[in-house]
Symmetry: C2
Subunit: 279 residues, 2 copies
């Protein structure tokens, strides 16, 4: 396997802590040699999406993923409908951005609920509906299993196999554009990981590969992800797994970190560029 170079990588803009407007971020990411960008909806609020898409294209970048869906399970039919409409709006933005996938962060337990099985059932129903919209717009969906520590409040899909079961449920003959985002941070611990990646590859379902690192100790459940190389994840092995499974897309660097958010973007981008060469 050739060493990873920035051109093979994407910067998820959360890594840069949303400190600068998207137009600056696009130029920064491109000037550091990265091949793609994964922006967040919050950055595009108030922007003309087509103009952003053009800027990204002109900078020589791809939009490898668009972040991200809101929750799908909800505590009432009205809320479910509102969430669906919001997700459809995000899908239209993803289409305008020519995003290679729209990331689904499924949502956890609806407020007041303890019933994770029901949340998962609701999710399957809601996702099937959203997939119809996504297909009409030509935007592939990437279901991202989140670490089990987020099961209650962020995402009730918590292993790769679980996400693949969900894909199979809404797309039994694997003919539609729905798959998974494999994020090293969320899945590195899973004893079924190797098997899950192979299954995802065989089903042509690997839509995205996200990297960062798991720090020891981890001081915060959300904002203490590590720069690649600073933690315990064997990113080279994981890259090998997804490559052997047929994935040819970029490695997206997504680091939620109180530390890195305060560092200036140039330093962060330079550090990312250096570190990926060792993966």
């Amino acid at each position: 396997m050739k060493p990873l170079v920035p051109q093979d990588c994407s910067i998820n803009t959360a890594t840069l802590g949303f400190k600068a407007p998207i137009s600056i971020i696009i130029d920064d990411v491109a000037s550091h040699g990265f091949g793609a960008i994964a922006p967040w909806r919050r950055e595009l609020a108030g922007e003309e999406i087509r103009a952003v898409a053009r800027h990204v294209r002109d900078a020589g970048l791809k939009v490898n993923g668009y972040c991200r869906s809101g929750p799908i399970p909800a505590s009432s039919a009205e809320q479910r409908e509102a969430c669906h409409q919001e997700n459809c709006k995000a899908l239209r933005e993803a289409a305008e951005l020519e995003a290679q996938c729209f990331v689904i962060v499924a949502g956890g337990l609806p407020k007041g609920s303890r019933d994770i099985e029901s949340a998962r059932d609701q999710l399957a129903d809601g996702l099937e509906r959203l997939l119809r919209e996504a297909e009409a717009l030509g935007v592939p969906l990437a279901v991202e299993p989140l670490h089990p520590m987020y099961a209650a409040d962020r995402c009730c899909i918590n292993t790769l196999h679980h996400a693949l079961d969900l894909c199979d449920a809404v797309d039994p003959d694997a003919s539609r554009k729905i798959g998974v985002a494999i994020d090293a941070y969320h899945v590195w611990w899973d004893p079924m990981l190797r098997d899950g990646v192979a299954r995802a590859g065989a089903g042509n379902r690997i839509m995205a590969f996200h990297i960062c690192d798991w720090l020891v100790p981890t001081r915060d459940l959300l904002m203490d992800r590590g720069m690649m190389g600073d933690g315990v994840i064997r990113l080279h092995e994981m890259r090998q797994m997804v490559t052997e499974a047929g994935y040819r897309g970029v490695a997206e660097i997504e680091i939620f970190s109180d530390h890195w958010q305060t560092v200036d973007n140039t330093t962060t981008l330079q550090t990312c560029a250096e570190r990926v060469s060792k993966i």
Copy 2:
């Protein structure tokens, strides 16, 4: 299912924050009507173990579990041997206490290692060796899968199925006394939970059932467990699962919590007694 009463429950002494000597704790736990206690090694340091065992018996309590093994994977053969000897010492204490099981918290990655697969291999070897000692002493082993957020630093066995695979590896014909501790906090999120509990029951491998709650939000990875009823775990359903799977032991209340550790023990024990009646 009859409502749970304190007599059907055990107090894991960590719930009380190690604020009082074990002799006081034993009397407190018994006077609140609990049927069992699960003490920690640190509390017995300097105590005459047989005297503690007699005190527990005289108070009308059982020792349903003894906490706990040190890590089994290590970064050198010398360290592995030292860990093994320490675990053997703990097993002898468990035997003297007439503990119904010795809890195995397997250990995570050895210092400096990123190789979780190798840690898991080491664990299987070390556990097989420890099991021989445990059998000679008549102490059943309870492998506790810990939440995946502890995979790196505390325990590389992170799902119930994973723990059962390990039991099957070291005890292929299920003839020996090794099984699992099912802790609601660690496994509640697992989409394979129902299936795993049934498998554990069919193999006669449920050695312990631990309860507390998952708070939303969870503010700390280690010390923010909730009192039963304050979080999102469906403890009644989980109790039903383990009961249907044949478990007839106590429900052990184990709450690591910066909050509850500062509360006086009487209030904590009264609260536990009230809350279990709703499970």
